[in-house]
Amino acid sequence: MWLVLPLLGLIIGAYLGSAVTFQLPAVYLKYMSIAVLASLDSVFGGIKAILEEKFDGTILLTGFFSNALLAALLTYLGDRLGVDLYYAAIFAFGVRLFHNLATIRHYCLLSFRKKRSMRQEYDGMRHGEYDE
């Protein structure tokens, strides 16, 4: 039920992004891609936190923006210094992203199984087949 509104936010955001005539210069494409990766990581981290029931809105918001900015800045710095920090950022965020996704999947599966076993327990109790 509450998933609808974040999805709506995503769609509205996508529409806004496509409606805006501003075109990203090709030079900043690299930084933008890293920022997007960092943002995705933050979002999945947030979802994981919700599932783990340790969610904090402030941490998510600050993490979202600071991660994106820092990732872009670090990539820029790497470019200036001649070190490919780009790949480091991709690696770090990629690993975290997959880790987050795995955890989300894990929690989803766990909760699903929990619900099913509970339902089975409940059904068994109702039909008197539950032996204790």
Partner: protein, 294 residues
């Protein structure tokens, strides 16, 4: 239902994520389509394809421009034709007297006391036509190919003695209307030519002078000759088809249907009907009023 506390931050985050993703998608798509990033082979193939397309288009341009030229030429030809037809129409209108005509010319005035006969008028007209007159009128009667010039003996003056010889005076008529004196003939054309045509030695003026007739010739800068007012009846020959012909045709048709296989019989039938038509064809004169426009 209680509002979860993650609702607002997640929505905000998703909103910004959406903006960033769509921007990135756009930029990436543009970047991927950039020519500088394409492979050399692809670029070569692209150049080849595009140059072929360009050649084809150039050929098409040549083809279409040729077409355009031919069309323009044909339209010019048509325009020329139209112009010449219009000129001809104007000429014919002047000749037929359907329009008013203006221009320099001469007037020939014949007074009451001058003895004249209608053939003299005809002679003068012919001389004028020969001298290149464009339009002639006699007392506001436009002279055309239909104009009748004749004379009639009538009594216009009732004071004369009915027993006298000159009780019935010959009057000149144009289009069956009596022309009153002075008879003024207007002719449009080169005034000098027209005058010379009438006054050359041994010409019409000299002949008329034998009868003490001296028509007055005046050169005019501007003459107006009115359009033909008289109504003419044109006679056209049209084919007259009697009703029996239709009947015979119907007969032949029914015969054809009956003897569909017998082609010889059909031919003879057709011949019969043909001869029949030729025999039965009559001509009838149907008067048509040209002034009545359909």
């Amino acid at each position: 239902m209680n509002k979860p506390r993650w609702y607002l931050p997640i929505t905000i985050v998703f909103l910004f994520l959406g903006i960033m993703l769509s921007l990135q998608f756009q930029a990436q798509t543009r970047y991927a389509n950039d020519l500088t990033l394409q492979k050399t082979e692809n670029l070569i193939a692209m150049v080849r394809g595009l140059s072929e397309k360009r050649q084809k288009l150039a050929l098409e341009i040549i083809d279409l421009s040729n077409q355009l030229r031919s069309q323009l030429e044909s339209s010019q030809d048509e325009q020329k034709l139209l112009e010449s037809i219009q000129l001809e129409t104007e000429k014919l209108e002047i000749v037929n007297g359907t329009v008013e005509h203006k221009g320099p010319g001469i007037t020939v005035t014949i007074e009451d006391y001058m003895p004249i006969y209608y053939t003299d008028i005809l002679n003068i007209l012919n001389e004028l036509w020969n001298a290149g007159a464009e339009a002639i009128s006699i007392n506001e009667h436009r002279v055309t190919s239909h104009t009748t010039i004749s004379s009639v003996k009538i009594n216009l003056n009732t004071e004369r003695n009915p027993l006298s010889e000159d009780f019935y005076m010959p009057y000149i008529t144009v289009n069956h209307r009596v022309v009153e004196y002075p008879i003024v003939m207007k002719a449009i054309g080169d005034p000098n030519n027209l005058e010379k045509a009438l006054t050359f030695p041994g010409g019409i003026m000299d002949k008329l002078a034998l009868f003490d007739t001296y028509p007055v010739i005046t050169k005019m800068e501007e003459l107006i000759i009115p359009a033909d007012q008289s109504s003419h009846i044109h006679f056209f020959v049209s084919e007259y088809k009697p009703e029996e012909e239709e009947a015979s045709k119907n007969n032949a048709d029914s015969k054809k249907e009956n003897n569909a296989k017998n082609t010889n019989a059909k031919n003879t039938n057709a011949k019969d009907s043909n001869t029949l038509r030729l025999e039965k064809t009559r001509t009838k004169l149907i008067p048509i009023n040209p002034n009545k426009k359909p």
